[in-house]
Symmetry: C2
Subunit: 186 residues, 2 copies
Amino acid sequence: MAKYDRKADLPVSLARRYLEPGPIVLVSSSCRGKTNIMTMGWHTVMEFTPSLVGCVIAGGNHSFQMIRDSGECVINLPTTALTNKVVGIGNSTGSEIDKFKHFELTADPAEKVTAPLIRECHANFECRLSDDCLVDRYNFFIFEVVKAHVAPSPKHPETLHYTGDGVFMVSGKIISRRGRFRPEML
Amino acid sequence: MAKYDRKADLPVSLARRYLEPGPIVLVSSSCRGKTNIMTMGWHTVMEFTPSLVGCVIAGGNHSFQMIRDSGECVINLPTTALTNKVVGIGNSTGSEIDKFKHFELTADPAEKVTAPLIRECHANFECRLSDDCLVDRYNFFIFEVVKAHVAPSPKHPETLHYTGDGVFMVSGKIISRRGRFRPEML
């Protein structure tokens, strides 16, 4: 996992490159000295600048109150190499176990938030809660990505995309149609 | 394309099976006798029952006002077979061309909304605008899926996932970890 020690900064407006394809992500949080991790599949990019991401975090998650109280989290992008950890994290609760310890993941310090980065993930997006007006009605949090870190390779890692029912689709193969785009649409 | 004539009904709560993986979708709309189609990559499932999907539709899109005024749309799921049409639709405007005609797509009647289904897509989700409270601030529409149609095969079609910059990731390969899920998490 040595390559994950040398992540590069990414302009926050390019977070969409990794989040718009719709991968399962791991959300890490910290509150009153405790950390936690949850899996999340319900998220969407909402704006480039500021770099906004909307996410549903169900009220039953141990992370819900930690994120609401701290107003922060990190959205981490796992690859298929972490499939079993992703499933394990989604099927356990932070009220019973320390997920970093249990799943042997490394909590690296973030730059702009207190929540930790998950070192073994391909990319890490430090987020601050930007708008909570839909949290009570839909558990919908709007975060601003305030710092982005990405492993230098591979350029297009294999990511997991959840369909429900225990089944993930895998993305990684690429189709480029750059030549067919109007310049202003790129 | 004969198989697309024989779509099956899908319970609307299962729309997540196709939308949660984060594919590019085609949104069809109808208003005052005109139809239109746009591509959309910024969407997320928000609830199973009612079946809610949140979407960003930028105000500059010709579809924006049609969808806001009619309060309806259809979210259609294209496969990689439609890649060039998807790109063409995203790089043209309904203020200048009739996209169904120009891209040789078939407008089938929906059951519960006036907006047409795109026959050549793998799945069609008829939607009614459920909550527009974030439209002014974020162009964020919350739709309820009121009827879902899915082609019987393949079970996991190859879908397009946009990364920006003219590049799509392709999903289709499957990993199942059903055995590792707690029953209540499936």
